[in-house]
């Protein structure tokens, strides 16, 4: 293992490469997808422009190359474990991108993505619950089997407008990075930075107005990697707090629909698109309750305004996560 200076330089190089892969390869990939006709309508814009999908393969490539650079520097097997989890989530997503799968497929299949974390024993036997730690060597395993599908599907469900999923992930990564810096290992912090850099690179293309959509392959890999990093850095509760708006969205949806279904299977939509391309909340009692529907209860908004509102909620939940980190810091040092 190189000295501290070598590790820092390695992390910076890995992060820059992860960022640049998105920046350099994504335009060609967008052209390739358009050529192959792999496009979907962006329904919330005039004339419904065709937007290529999925961006998952390039996003995964950037993360894998960035993290492998770190692996060759450190030899840390946790990197391989997290990459396996991310790759399995990507495969599940890409299947869902190209085939119509039932509602249970994504949460069910994502259990497989949790297995590398258990095999490589990436978790500590003690769960960090802010006010102290609980020794749960057996209970941790079912907890991981639940966490990864939950994180993957939560991020997937928030991907409703241009740039939301990626922007949301970038904002909520900051509490995880700070928590890892204060309470976790340096090696995990090193793994987090190329992931953040890859997200920033991809955001350049996913932000409003999107040039490409991540697809299920992109959102599931983002969510699964986020969950894996939260477990590896002992920041599970911090991650839950940072993800609260997305968790709230999933909770509202599930509690109103009362079953796991794909959005395309819904008979009634939670929002209505007006002629001026603003959105308003549906008045249909049978329409599912979602975060966006609640946002729109205050009045009609444009897509860009909704995206900004969701970012503000992510910033708010991340602030709560930072307060929680401060609380944990005071308790652990006192």
């Amino acid at each position: 293992m190189p000295n501290f200076e070598g590790l820092v330089i390695g992390t910076v190089i890995a992060s820059i490469i992860a960022f640049l892969i998105n920046l350099i390869l994504m335009p060609s990939f967008i052209k390739f997808l358009k050529l192959k006709g792999m496009v979907v309508n962006d329904n919330h814009k005039p004339n419904k422009p065709k937007v290529p999908r999925p961006a998952g393969p390039i996003l995964l490539l950037s993360i894998v190359i960035g993290e492998l650079i770190l692996f060759f520097i450190t030899g840390n097997l946790e990197i391989i474990s997290i990459l396996l989890t991310t790759s399995i989530a990507f495969i599940i997503g890409i299947i869902d991108d190209f085939r119509i799968m039932p509602g249970w497929f994504k949460p069910g299949a994502l259990i497989l993505a949790s297995i590398p974390l258990i095999i490589f024993h990436i978790y500590d036997n003690e769960l960090n619950v802010i006010f102290g730690s609980v020794f749960i060597p057996i209970l941790y395993i079912p907890l991981i089997l639940i966490s990864i599908p939950l994180a993957g599907n939560t991020v997937n469900s928030i991907d409703v407008f241009n740039g939301v999923a990626t922007g949301f992930m970038i904002i909520t990564m900051f509490p995880i990075i700070i928590s890892t810096f204060l309470f976790g290992d340096l090696e995990i912090l090193m793994i987090e930075l190329p992931f953040l850099a890859a997200l920033l690179g991809f955001y350049m293309f996913h932000k409003y107005p999107s040039k490409i959509f991540p697809g299920d392959s992109g959102t599931l890999l983002m969510g699964a990697m986020y969950g894996a990093l939260a477990i590896a850095s002992k920041s599970e509760i911090i991650a839950i707090i940072a993800l609260l708006p997305a968790i709230m969205n999933s909770f509202l949806f599930l509690s109103s629909v009362r079953k796991i279904v794909e959005h395309r299977e819904l008979k009634s939509r939670p929002t209505i698109l007006n002629e001026d391309y603003t959105l308003q909340a549906s008045k249909d009692k049978n329409a599912p309750i979602t975060l966006v529907r609640l946002i729109l209860l205050d009045g009609k908004l444009s897509e860009r305004e909704i995206v900004m509102k969701i970012y503000k909620l992510a910033a708010f939940s991340s602030s709560l996560a930072l307060i929680t980190i401060l609380l944990q810091f005071i308790i652990s040092s006192g």
Binding site: F131, L244, M248, S255, L320, T324
Partner: protein, 84 residues
Amino acid sequence: MNFLDLKFFILFMWILVMTACIFIIFVIAPISKFQIDQNEPLSFLKTSFIQATLAVIIVGILIIVLNKFKKVYLLKKLSGKKKS
């Protein structure tokens, strides 16, 4: 921030998460101290089972409380909208 602000909903969820953490640390975790034989695997499994059951009950209670809060929140939000 007023009650009808979505941030209030998130703040309420945060309070629930923190309450659950306090309960885990001060109620569930100390149960292992009462384990009769610290080295016996069966006793260890029994304690883990009790702790897991209690944790599941807490999650269940949290979901019920959140569901009740959601109903009150939606009712107030919709009635507030009608008034305005």
